[in-house]
């Protein structure tokens, strides 16, 4: 079982969280073309090793988190809030 150290709740079982997806995707603006959206939605990398991904602490604080996790070993290097302002707050409180 993966254990995730939520910046708000502490270390919890992954069963409290829902997996989101690739956290590096820059979603195009709403008025972007079908082509750009297709690229963002359907063309995903299948990374072997560390990848940045989003997780939702669904059964906890309900924050969306940005997690650096190895797809091979499940090792987690970092857990941060997705929201950039909250990321700064957490960083400053360390």
């Amino acid at each position: 079982m993966i254990r995730i150290n939520c910046p708000y709740c502490g270390e919890r079982d992954h069963s409290e969280f829902s997996y989101g997806g690739d956290a590096t995707i820059k979603y195009p603006s709403l008025d972007s073309s079908e082509k750009e959206w297709t690229k963002a939605i359907f063309f995903r990398k299948n990374i072997k090793g560390f990848q940045l991904e989003t997780w939702h602490h669904t059964n906890g604080c309900r924050m969306w988190l940005e997690i650096e996790r190895s797809t091979v070993t499940h090792e987690i290097r970092s857990v941060k809030p997705c929201h950039p302002d909250l990321k700064k707050v957490v960083e400053n409180n360390k």
Binding site: I2, R3, D13, S18, S33, E34, T38, H56
Partner: protein
Amino acid sequence: MKTSRLKNYGKINRNNVLSFTWDNKKYKGFEGDTLASALLANNIGVVGRSFKYHRPRGIFSSGVEESGALVTVGSKDRRDPNVRATTQELYDGLKASGQNAFPNVNFDLAGINNYLGRFFASGFYYKTFMGIPPFEWGKGTAIWMFFEKFIRKAAGMGSASTLPDPDSYEHAHDFCDVIIVGSGPSGIAAAIEAAEKKLDVILVEQDSIIGGDQLSENEFDSSHIENQIKNLGIKVMTRTTAFGLYDNCVVGLLERVTDHLSLPDKTLPRQRFWTIRAKHIIVGAGAIERHIAFNNNDIPGVMTVNASKHYLNRYGVLTGKKIVITTNNDSVYETAELLSEAGANVTVLDSRTNFEIETNKTFEIRRGYVPYNINGSKKIDSLDISKSENINKYETINCDQVLLSGGWSPAVHLLSHRGVKPKWDYENACFLPSDTKENITMIGSSRGLWNKNDCIASGVAGATDALNRLGISKTNYFFPKPGGWKNPIKPLYEVKYNKSRSKSFVDYQHDVTSDDVRLAHREGFISVEHLKRYTTLGMANDQGKMGNIIGLSLMADLLNKEIPEVGTTVFRPPYTPVSIGALSGRNVGKHFRPLRVTPIHQWNTDHGAKMIEVGLYQRPWYYPKENETLSDSYIREATTVRKTVGICDVTSLGKIAIQGPDSSEFLNRIYSNGFSKLQVGKARYGIMLRDDGIVMDDGTSWRLAENEYFMTTSTGEAAKVMSWLEELLQTRWTNLNVNVTSVSEQWAGVSVAGPKSREVLNNCVDDSSVITNNNLLFMGVASTFLKGKIPCRIARISFSGELAFEVYVKSDFANTMMDLLWENAKKYDGCLYGLEALGALRVEKGHVTAAELDGRVTIDDAGLSKMASTKKSYIGSAMRKRGVLKNNDREILVGFFPANLKETFNAGTIVCEKNNIKGQGIGRITSVTYSPELRHWIGIGFVKGGLDKWKDTTLVGADPVRNKQTNLKVVSPHMIDPKGERMYA
């Protein structure tokens, strides 16, 4: 085999005599016995019949690796099959019986399979039924079906009870610094070292008492050591198996709480399924002695050498009178001495010639000899032995027991669960654990250490390793080198039998012989994983603990490769079987999943509601009067709504509070239709798309104030929509000042629908001027009060197509609201209506729900193109225009009537053209109801091309499941009041 209980041996409690039955006969044993030791003490040699050939089988081991003594324990609803007699503790009144035999294991009619061996060789099932598609219709299936029941009966083990399980099981959780698996010399040393350094330690032992292999030492006192380590604050868990290791040092344990008791306390669970979250794992799981493959190596009386030592010193049972020990390593000599001291006549066959060993010379050692064949069937009569360099010449020794030691396999299983591949060690002829970056340390004989002092040293080193890795200490340590015997082991896996087809077993439990392995090789199944599946080697419930290495070595031999080149199969959890009951724990029956009820639930059932599950929710289905059936009831309810008024609990809808200065902008981006111009005091129906342009959900949003909205979602998608909104605000649109809060539980809601709904509400609200036609227009919202100063929100929203209102109050006021509304609705001959009537009303109007919006449907498919704004961009606006969603072949929402209005049809019906009834047809029917208004059956669904293409053509509704066909007319989905005049009344 002549077994006997000795007076001065064993750790059993002879003051507590236990009686038990074996195959319906009564026997006696002692406290501290296992079923296996008690059977041996009673001189019972045959305890089972083998899987395929029904050969008599005895007890091969004294532990979890047992592959012969699988028995059925208990009776009626507590009948438990395939229990290892070697680990089942004896209790008073235990009932056990042999398996896979009729009428019993001593006289089994299916024993004839032994002579039909060629039919049961590896791949038998595949070959026999090749070309017969078992999962397709036709003749082949019938043949398979006919034979299957005989084959399954002939080849099988025990059968489980089919009655409901009377026991309860628990899930439990714990945390610790270090968990130590195994209480042998290394595990105990590690536990003491870690506890003395102030770590929080859990010590897990699958046996009933701690000690591990030391339990085969006469002088070892388990309870003394247990007290000593408990005093150090170590949590000791006996009868508990660490069955699996998982990510982040999570360990799965199965604790057998009452399996050893005759009259368990009813308040105790039978087993506990533990999830332990540790910081470090130390595995001292021991090693397992291997057997040797040679002809008839399965005759009852064959056992591993170490097992006989355990039976002697732990249970006081001498397992034979004239014993032949066959070995290729040093580990057997201590046992040989003990057995001869205990009165047995012992001969050791050692396949090695040059080795030095110090013994008390009470037994004969025959150097360079190997076992060739056992003579006997239900017991051993004699053993043919040969010189290892010339097996064709043999001599015969009379004996009643043959003990085998083909070397030792460290129990690397748990480490293997973490994907760590073991490495082959030529010197010790075994797989050794590899290093891992994870916080897991292997100690004792599970890292290939063969003597006790090395094991103890490795335990201390293991604890130090844990302390270092946890950053508590920085102490140097070293692990003793693997091995520890004076003389090197000489690999010996099989002695080939040259006379005929052999019965030389590699995997006892699945009756896999060395010939089966060779057959697999001849037929090309040379990869370890293929070999395993083709022969089923290592796939029985012992998972090849004894036989896997032998199978590997045979394949290596055939391929002219070394064992590590052939590979090893990956061990997966569980290490030993885990009952389904323990996995489900308390999540059974009504507790199988959470139950959600609305605050109106009790009120509904008090007023006669029959409930139905919608997701996790219980919702009113219908409210029957006297003898009404479901159809009587919902038709009456729907008719009443259209005629006067009805009240329906809609609390299960998702409800989200959306607040903040950018709320309007936010809604405008997530809904496909415009929201930026929605005035305060108005609600709007909206559709949300996914990024890929498919419909996600529909619902309404009410603008309560400049910066405040109240959103409703469908019941099923509520949680998903909430997470989606949070994701957008926290990851994509992080500059929007919006807050979303789930308020689903905080508000109770009802729909009041029908031409008399305003009159009913007039009597219920404090100020009826608020809800007049002028003051509360269609889709108008009012925050006001019900009588008694109950704050409420009212919106003029209609799902039924009638004049209707949704009324929400705080959940605590739910019952008061219902009493008030119902009292007044009754005055207008109103009714309570449930989901079935709601369904009829909405299908008549062509309104879509989850049945239609199934994740494949676009706005255009659902006939809601006008809900897609052309003036703005929103989630999914670019992608809904992509080619595949725009072609003319899409299935479009339509209504269906039966061509003959007296006929019926069902949801799930496939729509086809008249002379082309096949495959997926040209459409599907998603919702069907009897229409009280139209007085015949109607449906909505999808058809390629939609109404325009088919309005003048009769189509066929094919329902192959119910073997039914109905001619259908395609109509507009808006079957009643298409202009919506009633809603605006």
